[in-house]
């Protein structure tokens, strides 16, 4: 089936079998391999992207269902080579080790902070509880997102 959608601000078209997930479509057809696939059944959160501004698991959505949507992936966050606030704060806080889970955490944190700019640590922990990291022990990730929230508030 033919699919036309907006990805990171640009109109993209492609063709996919109905069974192809949005995650595989982004990676294989649009060469946007920043979106990672961990469990492929909605548990790990690594494949989180924004669809029409809301965080969704791209392994639990068919590519054909994203037709007409505005999708943002990890590749769409930086502006003119400058990392987004969440990216920079997570970089500064050493919020990753192997980096496999990082795109999912960054996208989930980006969506959450834009809706909840005043979130405290407990709310951030809850918001990120659906994303799995096997390296960091999470503390540095929480630190990074808290730092991003603080920087966002300071403008």
């Amino acid at each position: 089936m033919d699919i036309t959608l907006r990805v990171n601000g640009a109109t993209r078209t492609g063709s996919a079998e109905p069974r192809k997930t949005l995650a595989d479509f982004l990676r294989e057809d649009l060469d946007l391999t920043g979106t990672h696939l961990g469990c492929e059944h909605g548990v790990c959160g690594a494949c989180t992207v924004l669809v029409d501004g809301r965080a969704v698991r791209s392994c639990l959505m068919l590519a054909v269902q994203a037709a007409g949507s505005e999708v943002t992936t990890i590749e769409g966050l930086a502006r003119d080579g400058e990392m987004s606030t969440v990216q920079q704060a997570m970089w500064d806080s050493h919020s990753f080790q192997c980096g496999f889970c990082t795109p999912g955490f960054v996208m989930q944190a980006t969506a959450f902070l834009s809706a909840h700019p005043d979130a405290d640590e407990q709310q951030i922990r809850e918001a990120l509880s659906g994303n799995i990291c096997r390296c960091t022990g999470y503390q540095s990730i929480i630190d990074g997102v808290l730092l991003a929230a603080e920087r966002n508030r300071q403008g």
């Binding site: 089936m1 079998e17 109905p18 069974r19 192809k20 997930t21 595989d24 492929e40 059944h41 909605g42 548990v43 959160g45 989180t48 669809v51 809301r54 965080a55 969704v56 698991r57 392994c59 639990l60 959505m61 068919l62 054909v64 269902q65 989930q108 969506a111 959450f112 922990r125 809850e126 918001a127 509880s129 659906g130």
Partner: protein, 290 residues
């Protein structure tokens, strides 16, 4: 794993969807939010020949209140219901359960109807629907049928929906004056499947309990109502000893399944604890609602 090859239909009206269901019956699965069905496909636990994607049926999204009932369209996404002031004001038990469903990214796609049609016994919404005596409206070529929640849940991931029927709406009764609610659950991690959960609703009038509703998730292959405990509570004034006795009655006949998250005995003990906690919490916020 990748999804198996499957035919795909995307009807644009309920009438088209119902025609497709009549044509494919058991060979088709209805795709709503996909947060349970797509994992089942990926794990090869479901192998439908055809997916009937109802995400294009905008007529099935929305919340409306009338005549003591709140009607929620089957395709209403969980985050929309969570943000709904109508639901917060009139069906507080549903409002209490919604934030506990999965994680934010799951609720952004998952739907009210999808959860009830999937009928996972450890999910929150089936327990809420059972506790509140919600009504499920299904449509087929031969018309509409209204099924009380008490006769909707048939077994593990099984409902009394006919293969040619589409769940189109869920109706929840408006909470009476003086009603307090709680949804308490024990899970390994916020957002994980509940090991045991309890939907509790208590209505107070003149200091006595005039209506009590208790339904568990995670203790059987279907959600379970604690009718004997409810009968005990009605007419009494809330007290710790009353809740203790209600917890005993509510769990006396439970024989929960055992898995790596907990033995049957553990689940039973958690269930009794949740009855005490849930009733305290519900009575505690009963005065806040006029």
């Amino acid at each position: 794993m990748k999804l198996p090859a499957v035919e795909y239909e995307a009807p644009e009206t309920v009438a088209e969807a119902v025609d497709l269901l009549a044509e494919h019956e058991d060979e088709a699965s209805v795709l709503a939010g996909g947060q349970s069905l797509i994992p089942l496909l990926a794990l090869r636990l479901a192998r439908p020949a055809t997916l009937i994607d109802i995400n294009g049926l905008h007529e099935l999204s929305g919340v409306s209140a009338s005549n003591g009932w709140v009607a929620v369209g089957a395709m209403t996404r969980e985050y929309v219901a969570e943000d709904s002031t109508v639901i917060a004001d009139t069906v507080p038990l549903l409002a209490a359960a919604l934030p506990l469903i999965g994680h934010e990214a799951i609720r952004n796609r998952g739907t009210i109807g999808g959860s009830l049609a999937h009928a996972d016994p450890s999910a929150e919404l089936p327990a809420v629907a059972l506790a509140l005596d919600a009504e499920l409206v299904v449509r087929s070529r031969s018309g509409e049928r209204v099924i009380p929640a008490a006769s909707w849940f048939e077994g593990f991931l099984a409902t009394t929906r006919g293969a040619d029927e589409l769940l189109v709406e869920v109706r929840f009764p408006r909470a009476a004056l003086g009603t307090g609610v709680s949804f308490t659950e024990v899970a390994r991690r916020h957002g994980d499947f509940a090991i045991v959960g309890l939907a509790a609703s208590v209505t107070l009038s003149d200091g006595a309990i005039s209506d009590a509703r208790l339904a568990f998730c995670g203790v059987s292959d279907v959600p379970v109502r604690a009718a004997e405990a409810e009968d005990l509570l009605v007419g009494e004034g809330p007290s710790a000893s009353l809740f203790e006795e209600a917890a005993r009655l509510a769990t006396a006949d439970l024989d929960p399944p055992a898995d790596l998250h907990g033995s049957s005995e553990y689940r039973k003990q958690v269930a009794a604890t949740l009855v005490r906690r849930g009733l305290h919490a519900a009575v505690g916020n009963a005065d806040e609602r006029r």
